[in-house]
Amino acid sequence: MKINNLDALRKSMADSLKVDCEVYRGIDGDQTLRIPSAELKRVVSFLVDQMDCRHLSTITAQQRVEDPDQIEVIYHFWHGISFSIMTMVSEELPRLPEIVSILPGADFYEREVAEMFGIEFVGREETPPLLLPDDWDQGPPFIRNEDHRE
């Protein structure tokens, strides 16, 4: 099975992992699957071990103005085609499973998302600051405050 056949991939994940995912067609030049955040680690393990999809380009997090209570996190892979896993976490309790134990190259990307969006990566011992100063005390800079939600 090729990764560019998203419908087949989605069905395979539903059969073997019992993960319910949906195809997201919003990103131009990219094949995207939206998955529940709790299943992230199992899905990434499946991609790395079963699909040999091992190149993680980066992790993008963002907060959409139309849905400010959620933080959208996108894991961008390259496997001959651009392929992404998209998941959502609540701003109230921003927690995601780590994937650095599966892909050590995710280390810096998780640390950046952790400090810029305040997401806790469960399973990691720590996410030391990557870009912000040690004495930064103004909260995650990318989280929209009340003034910017309008």
């Binding site: 990219d30 091992r54 380009s57 892909l103 912000l132």
Partner: protein, 360 residues
């Protein structure tokens, strides 16, 4: 023997850019290390959300002082994709030529640095002199040696005159001879080989685990080049060789950059020969329709990744930039373990660090 931790940086003699390292050693052996970035973090992704697309071309050019052009090229491609405008072919070719010249001067700059770190100051002087020739062409075309301001959304800012084309051809011929000569010197220089062969070997498995890209990956036999694998125009119409080596050591990482510089000069000539006539830009709307796009390009150091989301206004709703140095840096602590203290500069420099890119 006891473990000793040595803090190095953020200001240090290895690079002109700030990077803090904690290196653990026992005698002459390095046990491992950790890194701290952020000393030149400018918050460019956040700043981009507060500026218009037109202003952002200039902001993004300032991410890096070496590969500034590929950043604006990738950003403009992303915006143009969302705008669904037809950019003239000639503009794509001019962009590509600047990209290849940027690769040449970036690789020559790096070769000078590695030569200096192994004590070969003569090679350092020659490479940095030769690099000036590539910068001369870029200055002749754009007026700038560091920030070229070549790109605008919808094309490029200038066209080539006949006089400029003749100057480029003459300079490229001269530079090709110099790069070939440099490659001969590098391959036959016993001191360079003694300092780099077998040092800090990186296996293809490690490249995959740490998601490393660019010349570092290709020097370990991982055949990846986004000019060929996910080509932005006009690379889909250009024929060029992707250089790989299998040794994976500091030697392979040195030779591959000299060979890539030579290949890029050949490609420059091909671009000039195949460049179509016509306009070099079209007028682009200020507001960008709602949408999201992912764009990858091949910067001198490897895969450059841009994710852009527009909400229909004249400012990006989100711009994510991942530079190739950030991927390579995650491998560095692993590379440092088990080497000799004297090899630290060779290993550090071997990655071709660009901290301004990594910090953004």
């Amino acid at each position: 023997m006891n473990k000793i931790s040595i803090p190095i940086g953020p200001q240090h003699p290895l690079l002109k850019e700030p990077l803090s390292m904690q290196i653990d050693i026992s005698g002459e052996k390095v046990l491992g290390g950790s890194l701290r970035l952020g000393y030149v973090h400018r918050g460019i992704e956040r700043l981009a959300e507060q500026r218009t697309y037109v202003q952002n071309v200039h902001l993004i050019e300032r991410i890096c002082g070496i590969c500034s052009h590929i950043h604006t090229t990738t950003f403009c491609h992303a915006v143009e994709r969302l705008l669904e405008i037809d950019v003239p072919q000639r503009a794509y070719y001019i962009r590509a030529m600047m990209c290849e010249l940027e690769r040449v001067h970036s690789h020559l700059l790096w070769l000078g640095i590695i030569a200096k770190h192994v004590g070969l100051d003569t090679i350092f002087m020659h490479t940095w002199h030769d690099r000036e020739l590539a910068l001369d062409i870029m200055e002749e075309l754009s007026g700038g040696r560091v920030s070229h301001a070549t790109n605008q959304i919808g094309g490029v800012r200038f066209d080539l005159t006949d006089h400029q084309e003749a100057m480029i051809r003459t300079t490229i011929t001269d530079l090709s001879l110099r790069v070939n000569n440099l490659l001969d010197v590098i391959k036959n220089e016993p001191a360079l080989q003694a300092r780099t062969r077998g040092v800090a070997k990186v296996s293809p498995e490690m490249i995959h685990q740490y998601c490393v890209v660019g010349p570092v990956a290709r020097a370990s036999g991982v055949d990846v080049d986004f000019r060929r694998d996910d080509p932005l125009p006009p690379y889909d119409q250009l024929d060029f060789n992707v250089i790989t080596h299998n040794d994976g050591d500091a030697w392979a990482r040195t030779v591959i950059r000299a060979e890539e510089a030579r290949e890029s000069l050949i490609l420059c000539e091909r671009i000039l020969n195949e460049m179509p006539d016509g306009p070099v830009h079209v007028r682009a709307p200020r507001r960008v329709p709602e949408g999201e796009v992912v764009i990858r390009s091949e910067a001198p150091r490897g895969e450059l990744f841009y994710y852009l989301r527009s909400d229909g206004s004249d400012k990006p709703a989100r711009l994510k930039i991942r530079t190739p140095t950030l991927a390579a840096l995650s491998l560095l602590p692993k590379q440092l373990s088990s080497i000799q203290v004297a090899d630290i500069p060779v290993v550090m420099a071997g990655i071709d660090l660009c901290i301004a890119c990594a910090d953004r």
